[in-house]
């Protein structure tokens, strides 16, 4: 990576040139630099709305980039050590779906752990590929899914040698990494492509002493949420290609579903963030690591909570841990993660990333300050004192290995009916059920519904998790195959 090249930000610079020319707009968007929508201009600021412009020759076109966007993509690829990079404006959801659609078509098998984001299942509904789940063990103490063990992966690969691809979280939402290098080598030996969901892993490309990034491990495609740890605007993302992918084919796949009116606010934010990361990422993430480690130690000092870190690493199901993450097991004080999440927001004005049955996750980033960390720790201590309950009454989160009866696509489009959730045991689910966040499905289309799963859903609901994905917004009815 040439630092001198990385100092430029072609989209940002083109927008600056464009702004100075004061071009009269007779094109979309119709707000015409905000003049047609003064309240919006007042809210977002004149400068912001004046840069909300349409694709045009001096600004290039994301669907078919030839000038500044192409250059920005080249610089991004170089910064991330990829053969090619795509700037994405439909979220990392679109990056994940484009990865899958690029390597799988109807009837193809894809090997993946079950703790994937819902966008993966939705991609399977779209393309008709068949999921082959590889078991991810659950840590019995904290109730979260771990990484994929190499031997278990080898067993599944050998059982399904016709699989087209392997899909791996790097890291998981909670910061857990599998042995990506070995898994990638094993997959390539069998002619399978490797896809990495790096929605929570932008920083792996720039920080020091962090788990290996997808591109460094040799994966073929990686979906990177720049808007999470990378600092770009919400909904912007990056899709990276390794050397063995046909980038122009991937572009065609992306264009199947991507907007033809890409937002320059999102594109310029990707461009500027990439420059920032390339020039200053190393120091920034060193600071993030220091803050997260400090918070971890302080929270563990309080007692009752368990803020886990590198101590989880066992060389296999937890091959590595991303220490920028601050995940805390809360059931030691007798509260579920979702309860602590709600109390933090309602009583302490602290918004964290999510709470699940057993854990909370606080997102630490380049925008944090140590005094805010003190607030979080102070609030957790205060909650421990004010709300502590007997922890025996809590459900111990456990991972439920699903029985896949139909492919997600078959199940989603099958003839189906709605039944009360209590009566759904034994039926095949025809839709997706998940808690959001984190957005990891509890049920996916095509899976057998069991009593255990129903109990889990009702428990999560009672504890205040936001359940989503079902046709019935109140999740009292489930769609099942007739």
């Amino acid at each position: 990576m040439s630092l001198n090249d990385q100092k430029s930000a072609p989209i940002y610079e083109a927008l600056e040139r464009f702004r100075r020319r004061r071009v009269v707009p007779f094109d979309v968007p119709g707000h015409k630099r905000g003049r047609g929508n003064p309240e919006l201009a007042a809210l977002l600021g004149e400068k912001c709305v004046s840069l909300d412009v349409n694709s045009m020759k001096p600004l290039d076109n994301l669907s078919h980039p030839v000038s500044v966007i192409r250059r920005a993509e080249e610089l991004t690829a170089e910064a991330f050590g990829a053969a090619h990079a795509f700037l994405m404006v439909n979220g990392t959801t679109s990056s994940v779906q484009s990865m899958i659609l690029s390597v799988c078509k109807a009837g193809d098998k894809i090997i993946l752990p079950r703790n994937i984001h819902k966008s993966v299942i939705n991609a399977l509904v779209l393309c008709g590929a068949e999921p082959v789940y590889v078991e991810a063990k659950v840590n019995p103490r904290i109730g979260i899914a771990l990484g994929v063990e190499v031997e278990e992966m080898r067993r599944v690969m050998d059982a399904h040698p016709d699989a087209k691809a392997v899909f791996i979280n790097n890291p998981t939402y909670y910061g857990i990494c599998s042995d990506l290098r070995t898994i990638t080598r094993m997959a390539h030996e069998r002619g399978m492509k490797v896809l990495a969901d790096e929605a929570h892993g932008t920083h792996l490309y720039f920080g020091e002493n962090l788990p290996v990034s997808g591109m460094a491990a040799g994966v073929d495609l990686a979906a990177v949420s720049m808007h999470k740890s990378g600092g770009s605007l919400t909904q912007s993302s990056i899709l990276l290609c390794g050397p063995d992918m046909d980038a122009e084919y991937v572009r065609q796949i992306i264009n199947l579903t991507q907007t033809t009116s890409a937002s320059y606010l999102l594109l310029s934010s990707l461009d500027i963030s990439r420059r920032n990361l390339a020039l200053r990422g190393k120091e920034s993430f060193a600071k993030v690591v220091r803050m997260a480690e400090y918070a971890r130690n302080e929270i563990n000092e309080i007692g009752g909570y368990y803020a886990y870190g590198k101590d989880l690493v066992d060389g296999d199901s937890v091959y590595d841990y991303d220490v920028t993450k601050l995940s805390v097991y809360t059931q030691g004080i007798g509260l579920t993660g979702i309860e602590v999440y709600d109390i933090l927001r309602d009583e302490y004005d602290i918004q964290i990333e999510f709470g699940d049955i057993g854990n909370i996750l606080a997102y630490i980033s380049i925008g944090d300050r140590i005094q805010d960390i003190e607030r979080l720790v102070g609030a957790l201590e205060d909650i421990g004192r004010s709300y502590e309950k007997d922890s025996n009454t809590l459900y111990c989160g456990d991972f439920i290995q699903p029985e896949v009866v139909r492919t997600p696509q078959e199940a989603f489009y099958a003839e189906k009916k709605q039944v009360p959730i209590r009566e759904a045991a034994g039926a095949i689910c025809a839709e997706l059920v998940m808690c959001y966040p984190p957005g990891i499905p509890i049920l996916t289309p095509g899976e057998r519904i069991t009593e255990e799963i129903i109990e889990y859903i009702l428990y999560a609901k009672e504890k205040g998790c936001s359940l989503q994905g079902t046709q019935d917004p109140s999740v009292q009815l489930l769609n099942v195959i007739v």
Partner: protein
């Protein structure tokens, strides 16, 4: 020469002071610190554009946060001052011989250095052997402290800057724990007049009212504060600021003051109707 320093009280109102010269300007890890020499207010220290302290009116503030609780609590031995980098509150505390220890917790070392250099008279409070300065975050300092102090004075003024954490439920909860069973916490309650300040004012009362059995608000008139009107909070586990107030005991001490009197003590808790209404509305929300 015509130089004016303006403090933005709101986006639409400012307080301006003619400045003779600027004596210091620096950026610490936490904030921008400026010291000005002015005709009307003497030397002023300005943090992130807000006047924190001026020679002309600092006495009002220091007397009100120290003498009010000291005239209520019968036996204060250990005091914690959060913030207080200028030393003014500590200096007022050392006038009480029964106080055995005064902890000052101020994260910003530069603020203390600047105060010592430009306001040596005020900062002499730091030189008393009972005073111990710790450079730490207030919330951090309070963590895991239990049943230790008779009086906590939160000397931080700004609920939006780097001291934001000192106006939160977690802070008030930490203070509650760090106080003895009959302890008192006195804190900056801001100004209720302008709309933006009113929101912070309401939220502070709501939080403290829920954290302490007794929570009252009292007032003072301070020229360099927004609208010239400033409020303090009196939160207590046992003593009521008026029912347990002992004017005779306090007057026997013979402490010399310029603002506080035992008559004013009672008057300070008699609030304008609109302020009473704000407070009651928040109390009713619970």
């Amino acid at each position: 020469m015509d130089i004016w320093f303006s403090q933005m009280d709101t986006d639409n109102v400012k307080t301006s002071v003619r400045v003779d010269k600027q004596l210091f300007s620096g950026q610490s890890e936490y904030q921008r610190i400026d010291v000005f020499q002015s005709q009307e207010f003497g030397k002023m220290i300005v943090l992130d554009g807000e006047i924190i302290f001026s020679e002309a009116d600092e006495f009002i503030y220091n007397e009100m946060v120290v003498h009010v609780p000291m005239a209520v609590h019968p036996h204060v031995k250990k005091v914690l001052i959060i913030g207080g980098g200028d030393g003014g509150v500590a200096r007022t505390c050392i006038e009480y011989p029964e106080i055995e220890a005064i902890d000052v917790v101020e994260p910003d070392e530069m603020f203390i250095q600047v105060s010592r250099e430009y306001f040596p008279e005020t900062a002499q409070g730091f030189d008393d052997p009972r005073v111990k300065i710790t450079n730490a975050d207030g919330l951090r300092f309070l963590r895991n402290r239990r049943n230790e102090y008779d009086l906590i004075i939160n000397d931080s003024t700004d609920p939006f800057g780097h001291t934001e954490g000192l106006f939160t439920k977690e802070f008030y909860g930490s203070c509650y724990r760090a106080l003895k069973e009959d302890g008192i916490m006195v804190y900056q309650h801001g100004s209720p007049f302008y709309d933006e300040d009113e929101i912070a004012f309401r939220s502070m009362h709501r939080k403290v009212y829920r954290s302490f059995p007794i929570s009252r608000v009292y007032q003072a008139s301070i020229p360099t504060c927004p609208a010239g009107y400033w409020m303090f909070g009196f939160a207590s586990k046992k003593y009521h600021p008026l029912a347990d107030f002992d004017p005779q005991r306090w007057n026997q001490r013979g402490i010399r003051t310029w603002y506080y009197t035992t008559n004013l003590h009672m008057g300070a808790f008699m609030l304008p109707k609109y302020v009473e209404d704000l407070l009651e509305e928040e109390e009713d929300k619970i």
